[in-house]
Subunit: 330 residues, 2 copies
């Protein structure tokens, strides 16, 4: 089968090559891939590669397509199903003609969205859902509670803003320019503040001494002090960024507050006993997308899954000013 | 009324003095104090005082005694009830003839224990309960899950070990000498390891690649690296020590693990909406003590609440080798 991989960390290392069609493990389904999206995890993994790889590394951790074969233990899907998934970072990605994926992390794709609109969603939606419902442990009825979403206009922030609003939370999203402010407001943010300015002063200026929940979705070292200051007694902070150095959490001590990490690949990387929860979460997300409770965050469809388009998407993400999601879907 | 306070941070600054009987707020009860216990919070607060205080500071954050008067909004207690409590660190402590305490953080004392056995328990039990059930969110049926309790023989550790065992957890408690090993084993620890030696190596040597939960009850800077290494994917660490400097939590990132602080005075200091949960928790603890599900951790009753005995208890705690609890109860 055809695949697009990279032989090294340079943005010029992408090549199209012939890859053996994967053999299925018991719980795998084989999917003919129609489209993919590109996430910061793609550029991060590319930048961590060695150069001159003999076996090119196939990236891509969002896919959509048709089930063409199923493993012997598969019960959740059958041949012909149209599915979407984020996948497993320890396996080959979705930038290929076919991909083998564990059924327990896949769901039926939404019916009322185009493939491009749908494939923008799995990785960011799984992350946002696990952040809010598993780490912060919000429920469906959070009226009167508040959340600060740092980097509200990014891929995860755009979904988290919608889910938080649907749960009844008052959402303060950070956005640093007019386009981002319009974007997060469109998705339901009640207030916006600028993460390049003093967050404590701005949030307090809106009348919030504390916020009940905080999501840190980028630049954790820059935002940790303000987050510890602003979090309410018994409040919860969740973060998707590895700090890379020590962080001072002293201000959480007398508030009995918590700091959680979220990485949506933990379940598949460690094959945790709740692996199938990602099938269930993604099914719920598919239903929310179908009924309009969740809107796609697609901003740009670059077209076919080609070396040129993948390179272009990586460039856009590395410039760091993308809003919403970039997909490749013809 | 008579009270014992300290005019400064020296262990020689305790004096007995005449203090105005407190006026009751709407939710306060006035209790005639029969006994108190001494906790590390007493020495910590004493060491943070200015010297030559005009109004001596009354310490003591565990008390037991009889309700002699109730505030106008009180519904949980009546005059004559025999109660125990840990109290509120923002108010005057229990080292006095009478103490005003908010009814919402008080419970009926256990009936089957002596006052000395009972007064050893409120602060450490509330801390252990909130750590396990509110921060780690364990349930009543944790069979197959494991917890590492760092400083298992201390006041909080001795209670947490019992509660964790009752919930079905496999308990690995740290203890650094034979007396401490015997003590934690008596309270149900399945395994002991020595916190002065390599914790990762010892826990792995017992056959645990990871543990599901970790309590850090002292020396967080010394134990944080091992804790981040040993915690399971999606595991939870809870800690009662303010680190005082930045800590490196990077190893939690790919495991989607969490780090929570617990301070049992948060609810009363911030008057949180769930303040009354401490009445409910302490009531449950009282019942557990009465039915034997929880054993007192009392090790030493120094007798009357006197300046000499309080000084002696502070000295013992500052030597840092106490096991279980010291009380003053005639």
């Amino acid at each position: 089968m055809k695949a697009i991989g990279t032989t090294g960390k340079s943005i010029h290392d992408f090549i199209e090559f012939e890859l053996k069609k994967p053999e299925l493990k018991a719980h795998d389904i084989l999917v003919k891939v129609d489209g993919v999206s590109v996430n910061p995890v793609d550029t991060k993994i590319r930048n961590g590669l060695k150069n001159d790889l003999v076996e090119p590394k196939v990236l891509g951790w969002d896919g959509i397509g048709t089930v063409v074969e199923i493993g012997e233990a598969v019960t959740l899907f059958q041949v012909g199903d149209y599915v979407f998934w984020a996948g497993d970072v320890t396996r080959s990605g979705s930038n290929s003609e076919f991909q083998a994926v564990d059924e327990r992390i896949v769901a039926l794709a939404p019916k009322n969205l185009t493939a491009a609109e749908a494939v923008a969603m799995p990785l960011t939606s799984l992350t946002a859902y696990e952040l809010l419902f598993e780490k912060l442990e919000i429920t469906d009825n959070m009226n009167g509670k508040s959340i600060l979403i740092i980097n509200g206009a990014g891929g995860v922030g755009s979904v988290a803003t919608q889910m938080a609003k649907n749960a009844g939370l008052t959402v303060i999203a950070t956005a640093s320019n007019q386009r981002a402010i319009d974007w997060v407001t469109h998705f339901g943010a009640d207030f916006t503040v600028n993460h390049h300015q003093d967050l404590v002063e701005q949030v307090r200026g809106l009348g919030f001494e504390f916020v009940d929940y905080i999501l840190i979705l980028n630049a954790v070292l820059q935002h940790i002090a303000a987050s510890c200051e602003l979090i309410a007694p018994q409040g919860r902070i969740a973060n998707i960024v590895e700090p890379g150095e020590a962080i001072n959490l002293d201000k959480l001590a007398h508030k009995s507050a918590s700091f959680s990490f979220e990485w949506m690949f933990t379940k598949s990387a460690f094959m945790t006993t709740d692996l199938q929860s990602q099938h269930e979460i993604l099914t719920k997300i598919s239903q929310w997308l179908d009924c309009g409770a969740l809107k796609t965050t697609l901003t740009e469809n670059l077209g076919a899954v080609s070396t040129d388009n993948i390179r272009k998407a990586h460039e856009m993400i590395e410039q760091g000013r993308t809003i919403g999601k970039i997909v490749l879907c013809q």
